[in-house]
Symmetry: C2
Subunit: 597 residues, 2 copies
């Protein structure tokens, strides 16, 4: 990891947007909070080519201090804020997609904002600029998209503020996009997040050069307040570890920057530099306008409010958060995912392990994962639904043909929905799709790499720790909930079985039988902890991933004690690829059980 | 938990300190960074009575915005900042101890600071006040303590900035205190912590009313800057969860406070109120002086620097952190603990589970634990060493007389040092102290309640998760490292055994034998997962805390494969309270092994 990586956002300059285009909307626009704008100008940039069916357009939504310049248009062009991800052959492949990014309403980079001329006064709006919401920003983007002759976007994608816009697109214009990618965002800012914004706004509002927002013709602007706001923002965009890695080595050796701010510590000189640089390219009134829009954005604090907000959405969803993002904590992405799942929407979610903080989605550090998942998401989304590539993926061949999987698949009825707990690389889901024509297939796994592989196969995957149950899922949401050869590795056995019973109409577990004669003999005759050669039992007592050592009889008693009905119980000798009918508790090394309550 | 609890610090007023006493030090004082003060005035308060031997004095060190008024002197007195913990019969019992608290050097509550008159100019010092360090603050406290005729303090205790002072006391004047209690503190501020201070100071320094610090005779003071600093501070003192609990319900219904700051959100009105109130009682120059002292405090970033800093300390230590404190993260308390342990110092450490953030040590929420541990620490520290009460504690009687413990104790030589992993309530340590006259006894446990009980018995306990090894401890630091009936519950078996071998000259494990004939028969004859009535094996397969199912033979092979020498191997039938010599792997239900490499 390059801990010194700067956010691409740090590279933004005040230079003109040389590739910008302008769309003039010459009708009055009424905003959500009642304000009116007599007309709106939208400045935007595009990348790639709109195809003949106008079906390959992706709207990218920028963050607080970003702008329409997502990426370089050519090698001589200024760097963009997401050159990492957007371009020919890149994650958002401009050979394939037509990418649009417009400057937000209320900003200061060419779309109507507080620094625009108010036709009623012939002065800049300043604080007379009406209150703008995320919804208003998206309404203006929608006008642009219509102006471009696009009926339905292939996708809307954004991080942070851009993620809020994406949420708004999907809920406000559900029929206008096939896919929504929400990175490092939230359905509402936390109290802590609002608190930081309050301090930042107060620094601007109480700057003596603010002059109630009409500073445009003054010698001095509220630069100190705006710089303080930016400094504070920068702290919240970085993780504590990223700050440590960046500033501890030369803690007392500040960089030599020309500034009137304190620069006693290396982190101080960095903040001073960032603050000073920001005032050259940003407008304090826009900062106030946009940060207030973020603070007011609120899809609801309660689960049922969120569910209601998502009820009419029709797009496929990708929600990504980052473990060290404390400004938009992953719990909020999880809440959105849960609400979407409960509404039966197609959604993948992963909380990506990262040291990079909120800025992670702009940095190279974790691009292999957030970019990889975003690409898998786009690659397997089509305008007609989800695309599931032909199985198997080459790297999975050995496990694809496991005898126990074949038997398990045979127990699943045709055309049903299946939730696969511990989906690993998606082998079982792939076979169910092809062999059982299953209708709605979702995977759960903890491992980021496996989630990405399963997503590449076209499935929705929700990151989850089975030890914590299945809080995302609704009662009887799936025809089948499957737990394949994992029961014996879970500590909270009773909890996961109860959760399976709650979420699935039918449940299937496969598990090793520790009363298999070879294992019995090992303990009885040799006096050693049971192990066996080959397969999942070939571990020593001190390194086996198994935590629970059950027999077929144990499982039967367990079910009987809990009023669990066993519909099918298939006993296997997995070594010999045979079904066992004679004294299975002695002769079977594995069992597959279909049950419900 | 009362999530609406306010920090006592919120209750501070600008009222005169009616019980304050003044000590005038009428000699020049040279400060660490070279500055000079021609004389120093120290304002302080005391509680309780100094005993005849002058051995019961506790110095309490206040936090950034605290003062000498720790507690009410009588029911008519103003509230103090730690009334919760200090008073007759309370955790720091003023019937027993003589408590001293002085206002810090550089502050604004009566001890010499930037608002004091500079005798050279007859004006307040302002920014001419010399740079003050934590060391200077402690030097002045030391002068006060000498003035009071106290040669050696019983204890120095402090949280946050007060914790830094405590660290300084112990390292700078190692012979002047018996005990040091460091709460929610650190050997240096994190880069993130310094960054927040930088923004806060910049808000003050760039306030147009700051006038380079000479604002005392002006109509306006840098109140906006100081209030912004305070708002920012408040955010960092609270946990995200505490903010959520406090402000989410009435998010859009701000309290009606009279303020010129933004008050659109409930959290905004709170911050505005705190900011406005703070400027009534605090001086901006003092804020700059003290926050810079905190930022400069640095005992070293590297482990060896920390160890060196602690090398000459002689006091007993209690280090407490709080899980939700993100300003002084627990990792920093852990680093200090590790360095102290490596230097062979007596130290207890616990990271207390709390939602209250950095302010936790001032609040009632977690008083039962941080207060309970502080009390246990003071109760069992004496001026001649550690006091170990007579065993057993009533609630521990049943387990005190366990047969296997008796056998284990018999394997420990007299007068040796012992580290007990998973010390639980301290039963084994207590018996070792009384029966084996062990010299240095330390416990490790994860559970806060058990840590507190073991501390009450006079032992040092370091919170630790055995799955993460023993990173705190040095090679061969103990004569014995004991793991009693816990090996089978640990997942990382090899790692913990290697760690025991590293830290202990000899190691002792006791473990259940899963090849005991009753268990063998259960699997072999009944085909059920081994369990047994009574004792640690009386669980079902799905709820046993055991994760590893080893036999005596398994353990012997494990040791042989790793060149581990077994010195003694005692085989027990714990049911019958007998030593087993005939075919122990069949007839013993438990074994105790003394080993080394």
């Amino acid at each position: 990891m390059n801990s010194n990586a700067q956010s691409s956002d740090d590279l933004r300059s005040a230079k003109p947007l040389t590739h910008a285009q302008v769309f003039e909307y010459n009708q009055p626009l009424t905003l959500k909070h009642g304000g009116q704008l007599p007309h709106v100008q939208v400045t935007y940039e595009t990348y790639g080519t709109l195809n003949a069916s106008r079906s390959n357009a992706i709207m990218l939504c920028h963050a607080l201090s970003g702008d329409s310049h997502v990426a370089q248009h050519d090698p001589t062009d200024d760097p963009g804020w997401w050159d990492l991800a957007v371009g020919p052959g890149k994650i958002i492949d401009t050979n394939e997609y037509f990418v649009i990014c417009s400057n937000v309403l209320g900003g200061c980079r060419g779309t109507t904002g507080p620094n625009s001329i108010n036709p009623q006064t012939n002065q800049p709006y300043g604080q007379d600029f009406p209150i703008v919401t995320i919804e208003d920003m998206v309404d203006v983007q929608k006008l642009l998209v219509e102006h471009l002759g696009i009926e339905k976007l292939f996708a809307v994608i954004g991080g942070s503020l851009g993620g809020m816009q994406t949420l708004c697109w999907a809920t406000r214009y559900p029929d206008s996009l096939h896919a929504a990618g929400v990175l490092a965002s939230a359905p509402r800012l936390s109290a802590q997040g609002i608190a930081f914004d309050v301090v930042a706004r107060n620094a601007i509002l109480r700057d003596p050069h603010f002059h109630n927002g009409q500073y445009y013709d003054k010698a001095y602007k509220p630069d100190v307040g705006l710089a303080l706001a930016r400094m504070l923002g920068h702290i919240t965009y970085l993780s504590p570890k990223a700050m440590h890695d960046k500033f501890e080595r030369d803690k007392l050796a500040p960089r030599d920057v020309a500034t009137d701010f304190e620069k006693k510590f290396s982190v101080g000189s960095y903040l001073a530099y960032q603050g000073d640089k920001f005032v050259e390219r940003f407008d304090a009134n826009s900062y106030l306008t946009i940060s207030m829009a973020m603070d007011m954005f609120d899809m609801g604090a309660e689960r049922d409010q969120l569910e209601k907000a998502f009820a009419d959405t029709t797009c496929r969803w990708l929600i990504l958060s980052f473990t060290s993002d404390w400004l938009f904590p992953s719990s909020q992405s999880r809440e959105m995912t849960d609400a979407l799942i409960c509404q039966g929407k197609c959604v993948s979610f992963c909380n990506i392990t990262s040291d990079a903080g909120h800025d992670a989605f702009l940095l190279a550090n974790d691009l292999d994962r957030y970019g990889g998942m975003l690409r898998a998401f786009l690659d397997t989304t089509t305008t007609t639904g989800t695309f599931i590539p032909a199985q198997p993926l080459p790297e999975d061949q050995p496990s694809e043909h496991r005898y126990d999987l074949e038997q398990l698949i045979g127990l699943v009825d045709e055309g049903k929905s299946v939730l696969d707990l511990g989906c690993s690389r998606g082998s079982l889901l792939t076979r169910l799709a092809h062999e059982r024509h299953s209708d709605h297939l979702v995977g759960v796994d903890l491992d980021e790499y496996k989630i990405q592989l399963t997503m590449q196969r076209g499935f929705d995957v929700v990151q989850g720790n089975l030890e914590e149950g299945l809080p995302d899922f609704q009662d009887k949401q799936f025809d089948y909930v499957v737990l394949s050869l994992t029961l014996q590795g879970i500590v909270h056995t009773e909890a996961i079985v109860e959760e399976m019973l709650r979420v699935g109409k039918r449940c299937i577990v496969s598990y090793p039988n520790f009363a298999y004669h070879k294992l019995r003999k090992m303990l009885f005759e040799e006096g050693r902890s049971p192990g066996a050669e080959g397969g999942i039992l070939s571990y020593d007592w001190y390194n086996t991933p198994n935590r629970r050592f059950l027999s077929i009889l144990d499982w039967q008693i367990f079910c009987a004690e809990r009023n669990i009905t066993i519909h099918r119980h298939l006993f296997l000798n997995n070594e010999q690829h045979q079904i066992v009918s004679n004294d299975p508790n002695l002769n079977a090394d594995m069992a597959i059980c279909v049950f419900s309550r």
